[in-house]
């Protein structure tokens, strides 16, 4: 039996964060050491409450701590148009079972990583505020971070603005710290996540599983697809789940290694992730950038994970 990969889940749930966490908890390859919230899809109060409700639903009993209310620099932006007023609109969820620790997300991350015998992988599915702060405040922990698997960015284009993807746009300064850190990075950007579309017929495969978690996941997808359908998507882009899929089923993904920089200034490009395709910078690649996914394999992974919760409770 191989050791499980120790991970920290850092996100701003958010429908696709919640589905990413659902994948993580169901995986026999991962061991969740801690969960942390970040301001992003909604305010920090809402994403923290959602994180704790999702943990209750999925049966994650790891310690939890709240992130800060704002990006490292500048003011927050939220995505209520996509995730609803609560940040996780749709099905009714159980009330939280885990209290927030009396320390910050950054402190919990540092404590968890310091205490772990093996290097820890961070799954960051929101703005990189907590991860950036961790690397600034605790640089000595870098060797104990195995990898940061990020949902964020897009080498070819953005979504919130033409040049920038939401998670990077919200806190480009934090992202800049992360991309310059030297820690191994996997980037699930829009290049791949827009190919990880979950179609309405896939929702039904998950709904048909019939267990309480699968039912909630199907209803999250119903809600999440509502916005995307209105702007022309053929399915729900469950962006964040790709950052977990990259850890548990890398064989369904294709990737390329690039030196990626974060634009923190500019009229149109703040928050852009810029890859050095031709080696202008003379720098070694710092990012394992995912560029394509076997969509069918991804859907199978989601269905298997949702099915796991039925077996767990049987």
């Amino acid at each position: 039996m191989i050791d499980k990969m120790p991970i920290i889940l850092d996100g701003d749930p958010g429908h696709d964060d919640a589905i990413a966490w659902m994948l993580a908890k169901a995986s026999s390859q991962l061991e969740i050491l801690a969960c942390t919230s970040v301001s992003g899809n909604q305010s920090i109060e809402k994403t923290s409450y959602n994180a704790r409700r999702v943990m209750a639903l999925l049966g994650i009993d790891a310690p939890f701590a709240m992130g800060r209310a704002k990006p490292l620099h500048g003011e927050p932006i939220h995505a209520g148009n996509i995730h609803g007023e609560t940040g996780l609109d749709g099905p009714v969820l159980p009330e939280p079972r885990v209290e927030a620790q009396p320390i910050s997300a950054v402190e919990l991350m540092a404590k968890t990583i310091a205490a772990s015998e093996r290097p820890v992988t961070i799954v960051a599915t929101g703005p990189l505020t907590n991860v950036g702060a961790l690397l600034i405040l605790y640089p000595e922990l870098k060797p104990k971070i195995a990898r940061i698997s990020i949902m964020g960015g897009g080498l070819a284009h953005g979504n919130w603005t033409p040049a920038a993807e939401f998670n990077i746009l919200i806190d480009p300064e934090a992202a800049d710290v992360v991309f310059k850190s030297g820690v191994s990075l996997t980037m699930a950007g829009l290049d791949v996540t827009l190919k990880a579309l979950v179609f309405p017929e896939d929702f039904e495969r998950i709904r048909a599983l019939g267990n309480p978690v699968a039912t909630v996941v199907a209803e999250w997808l119903d809600f999440f697809y509502g916005f995307h359908r209105s702007i022309g998507y053929a399915g729900a882009p469950v962006h964040d789940a790709v950052a977990v899929a990259a850890l548990v089923r890398p064989e369904i993904l294709t990737a390329a290694d690039y030196y990626v920089q974060i634009e923190t200034s500019g009229d149109f490009c703040r928050g852009a992730t810029v890859a050095d395709h031709f080696g202008f910078s003379g720098q070694q690649p710092n990012t394992h950038a995912l560029i394509d996914i076997n969509r069918e394999g991804f859907i199978d992974l989601l269905v298997e994970a949702a099915a796991w919760y039925g077996k767990e409770q049987a």
């Binding site: 070819a156 284009h157 033409p162 040049a163 634009e263 149109f268 490009c269 852009a272």
Partner: protein, 308 residues
């Protein structure tokens, strides 16, 4: 159909030279004038090259001289690609031709007035001359039907990781042009990187035997070597592809888009930003040309070069 009245605004430049060879033979175009700008090499040199090329082609059109550098910035060049003389060391014939004594922007305006809204501009260098023209003549936008540019990219750059050379060389001028109110058709790297001619195809041109065909082959060899060092076998026909698009867009795919130029970003200045793929949408001010039927392109190049 009557040929389209056009002015070619350029910075010769190896691939500009190839674009000239094709433009002279394109029945769809009525090339009224050449306008030069600093770009690949200095204005002095791009002017010399334009006059020499017109002489070489025995082409009876006037050459106008424009800006010696960007509107707001210091000049950058691409002599590493095109050679310090911009013609990869190939001698152009001596000529008694001289540049006209009006500037490019005044000439563009005069032609635009004369052609009463039918004039199109094919701009295959930095967009400084166009920006100057728009700054000087507020009524110019409604007198120009369309601008086809070689420049920009929705994905990657060739002057920096984010920016293509012609836009990088004068980002403010490019943004002024995109925002002028004339539809801009952007033949950027997305398409021109696919307009690749292989060394064998270049040899086929040379075998046609005319002095123009031999020049076509010889002038690009330095770039073929340069591209080889980047791992690309052959040459991307950036400017020639834009020229053929301006004449006949049937072998291309273009999409309406909002297009702006980043002028301030620390690592993205000179990047053309388009709303083609994002959830956020901008007002459409042009078209991004994304694709080309490469084989049909090469066929057309052969057909045009056989006319010499």
């Amino acid at each position: 159909m009557k040929p389209i009245p056009v002015i070619i605004d350029c910075d010769p430049g190896v691939d500009d030279a190839i674009a000239f060879l094709l433009a002279k033979q394109l029945p769809e175009l009525n090339v009224l004038a050449i306008s030069v700008v600093a770009g690949n090499v200095s204005l002095e040199r791009t002017t010399y090259n334009a006059l020499g090329l017109v002489e070489f082609l025995n082409w009876d059109i006037p050459v106008y001289r424009g800006a010696s550098g960007p509107v707001f910035r210091k000049r950058v060049d691409a002599a590493d690609v095109h050679g310090s003389d911009g013609m990869a060391g190939i001698d152009l014939p001596h000529t008694r031709r001289v540049v006209q004594d009006v500037t490019s922007w005044d000439a563009i305006y005069q032609y635009a007035l004369e052609w009463k809204g039918k004039l199109e501009i094919i701009a295959i260098g930095p967009l400084t001359n166009l920006a100057m023209a728009f700054m000087k003549y507020p009524d110019l936008p409604k007198l120009i039907k369309r601008i086809v540019i070689m420049g920009g990219s929705t994905l990657l750059g060739n002057a920096s990781p984010a920016a293509e050379f012609n836009i990088y060389a004068d980002p403010e001028a490019a943004d002024i042009t995109f925002c002028a109110g004339v539809p801009v058709h952007m033949c950027g790297l997305d398409m021109t990187m696919k307009a690749l001619m292989t060394p064998e195809e270049l040899d086929s041109v040379a075998e046609m035997g005319s002095k123009e065909a031999v020049f076509f082959h010889d002038v690009v060899q330095g770039i073929v070597e340069f591209m080889g060092r980047l791992g690309i076998i052959g040459i991307n026909m950036h400017d020639p592809a834009a020229m053929l698009y301006a004449a006949d867009d049937s072998i291309f795919k273009a999409y309406p888009a909002g297009i702006r130029v980043e002028t301030k970003g620390a690592i993205t200045h000179g990047k053309t930003v388009t709303d083609l793929f994002s959830d956020a949408k901008w007002q459409k001010n042009g078209f991004v040309v994304m694709d080309i039927d490469r084989d049909a392109f090469v066929e057309r190049v052969f057909e045009l070069m056989r006319k010499y």
